[in-house]
């Protein structure tokens, strides 16, 4: 088995070496550099959220409306879509047609389910009186999660286009780099959500009215 692994290693490395100064693919390097840029993008939004934590002048405050269990489920869904993504890449690389298609589809589908959760959450919040204009929590919450949702949406569209390409035969094992790059983006969206889930839901979900602000009354 060890012997086999070594052979596989050489094959893999050969496959993924490009005629560039570093031997790295231009496009993959681009995607990683873009993710570095996106770190600063989400970092700014998350920092804004944390700066404005506990500074809303009126309710609803997080403790009034944030629902941790439901979001745990949607977090799990997004994590599983990441698993589907690596499996999709694995099978597409391997050249297994149907498993490849299935897992690309699953990734996109789980992404859609996640968006569904988010739409449901937004709808609930608006019904309970929290809009982006209501207070600082609403402003920062909707913009942060909204932009994450936009990233997921773009990812879903990208995956669907790749799925279409897989049916058409333009996505094959020899250019699985296309899928790998989409995968990097998808996983990045996942890890951003891990951070957002922690920050908004696990750390600040119990925040109530700051001193001096009126309590929020349901109803």
């Amino acid at each position: 088995m060890a012997q086999q692994a070594v052979t596989e290693y050489h094959a893999e490395v050969h496959d993924t070496t490009y005629n560039t100064s570093t031997g790295l693919s231009n496009r993959k390097l681009l995607m990683w550099a873009f993710l570095g840029s996106d770190v600063m993008f989400f970092g700014s939004f998350i920092a804004t959220y944390l700066v404005y934590r506990n500074r809303s002048l009126v309710g609803p405050y997080p403790e009034n409306i944030v629902d941790v269990p439901i979001t745990t489920i949607s977090t799990f869904v997004l994590l599983m879509s990441s698993l589907a993504m690596v499996l999709a890449l694995h099978y597409v690389r391997e050249g297994s047609k149907n498993p490849g298609r299935f897992w690309i589809f699953m990734t996109a589908a789980l992404g859609l389910v996640f968006i569904g959760f988010q739409v449901f959450e937004f709808w609930t919040f608006v019904n309970e009186g929290l809009t982006p204009r209501t207070n600082l929590f609403g402003t920062t919450f909707f913009i942060l999660t909204g932009f994450h949702g936009a990233h997921v949406t773009i990812g879903v569209l990208w995956l669907l286009i790749l799925l279409f390409g897989h049916f058409k035969g333009t996505l094959r094992s020899d250019n699985s780099l296309d899928l790998e790059i989409a995968g990097l983006y998808w996983h990045f969206v996942d890890i951003v959500w891990i951070v957002i889930f922690t920050v908004i839901y696990l750390v600040t979900a119990n925040d109530g009215a700051p001193p001096g602000a009126p309590p929020f009354l349901h109803g």
Binding site: N19, L24, V195, F197, V203
Partner: protein
């Protein structure tokens, strides 16, 4: 850097597109990345999880990672409602758990564990800079003591 090739042979373009550089010693792949943390026991674990030396993990490896991620998410949910930790204790636990999740996704699903170190440098440096800068910002804002 790899040893420079002899200047005697001036390589011509191989005709495969403008982005392809001529074949020289430059394009030899860097040594495969040996992981962010060393130690033989860890390498054994990694070998088991990933068939060390491959450019990505196995299906089994991915499944193991996914199970761990799920367990951590479940733990987060369960621990969240325990009052006994207090606010700061709970926050510390949550941050620790999600750091592990974050690292696992980056290392395994995003293959950073198996990739050339360039990628890890790019991403790690951006993360480091972002965390540093925004922590400084949060500290400054806390100092202002508004709210």
């Amino acid at each position: 850097m790899p040893e420079e090739s002899k200047p005697s042979s001036f390589t011509t373009h191989d005709g495969k597109g403008w982005w392809n550089l001529p074949k020289t010693a430059q394009e030899q792949p860097n040594p495969p990345y040996e992981g962010p943390v060393g130690g033989p026991w860890l390498r054994q674990v990694m070998d088991w999880v990933t068939y060390a030396g491959v450019s990505h993990a196995s299906v089994r490896g991915y499944l193991v990672i996914a199970v761990i991620l799920s367990i951590f998410t479940f733990l987060e949910w369960r621990l969240f409602s325990i009052e006994a930790f207090g606010d700061s204790g709970r926050n510390a636990i949550m941050l620790a758990l999600s750091t592990v999740k974050f690292t696992m996704v980056v290392a395994f699903f995003m293959h950073l564990r198996f990739e050339r170190k360039y990628y890890a440098w790019i991403f790690g440096a951006s993360m480091g800079l972002g965390v540093g800068v925004f922590l400084a910002l949060l500290l400054l804002q806390r100092h202002h003591g508004v709210g």
